[in-house]
Amino acid sequence: MIYIVSEENRRRFHHLLTEMHRQRKQVFIDKLKWRLEESAGLEIDSYDSHDAIYLIEAGTLTSDVSVSARLLPTVRPHLLSQQFADLCEEGLPAGPGVWEATRFCPAPDTPAGAPRRQMLGRMIAGIMETALLFGIEQVTYVADAALAPMALKVGWDVRALGAPRGEGRNRIQAFVASIDGAGLKRVREAFAITAPLTRFVPADLARAA
């Protein structure tokens, strides 16, 4: 299942959040060689904060993380507005009804191909469920050459915000996805998802004995 981790309940998710930052370090710094800061084996950037919503797929609150992603409100500085504004030729969608999705991170040992595609499908379904829950209408994201074609085909309604930049594997492009029930239905059908994937665990749930 995909846990929705927000400021309200994040204190129950210290293990999964730490594991997510560890995986981000292994994937983005060690494997993809992105130039990011790390501290004690964790990748944490200036957009990681209590304002971000994290989606973390795991069996339990202490088990291994299989995939994670980060959703940022666009009413504050975010990655697209600060780092990638040049990718949005026709303006940058932002406002209270818009989130930005970043740091899509499959666990480092995820095999390429079908398992990754399934993971992306589940995460996009999770993003849409969460967006609908919070009344979010649009989600922006930047995708590289590997991710962009996959993310276009999952069934949600996507359009490019500008032409791609860069060459080969470093080619990146900005997109915006519209979020609605019909789109979520299409994504669920495409990935044989028959029930909601996301769970919101309240912060003050009485602890199991």
Binding site: R10, R11, R12, H14, H15, L17, T18, H21, R22, S39, A40, G41, L42, I44, D48, S49, H50
Partner: protein, 245 residues
Amino acid sequence: MPASKIALDFLDFCEKQTSAQVIEDRFVSTLQALGYEYVACASHVDPLRPRPGGVSVLNYPVPWVQHYSEADFARIDPVFLAARIMSSPFNWVDCLAKMRLSREQKRVLDEGALYGLSKGLTIPLRSPDVIPASCSLIAGSDGVDPLAMAHVLMIVIYGHGAMHRRLNPDALADPVVLPPRERECLTLAGCGKSDWVIGEVLGVNWRTAHNAIERAKKRYGVSSRVQAVVRAVFDGQIMVDDLTG
């Protein structure tokens, strides 16, 4: 309470205290408030035989500390070894996996894990005395918010410094500073040169070289030139690479 407030309150508290013991207690309770169960902030020596003037804050389980001391694990502890090599904070899982450890070193980790001491985070510390030091932290069952990391580092580095200052109030009063001639002569002595050779290299009388080294020894209050060289290296007045030429 947010981690930033916990950290700033701790710094504020340290400023107002004169007793290292009081800071030690607050140091542990502050880190526990952030979710750490076990704290070991100390020089890399036998925990039951701390050095005078050395910071030694430890709340590891008592039976483990006794066993650790009896088995003399401080001499081979892989966490200490890593902390001496690493210049930035590291977590045990990632860092120790990259080290080639002996069976005895693995035993230290395995036996510590039986007492709940695993998956730690270690912050290497610069200690003004000659013994390397570090602070190891082990999270409790609820874990620690990864966004608190920056505040944890601030608490540990500042707290260690504050405790060290209280334990060594005169440390800053009389630091040894070697004049250039003494440093030159001591460096050459550290390379194994005799008074006569040092005199030749520097173009001075051998007696001048000899006297400069004697003055340096006196400054450090030591009786041999080897001791004086070692002290000057730890002081940072002689660089280790200066001794390889």
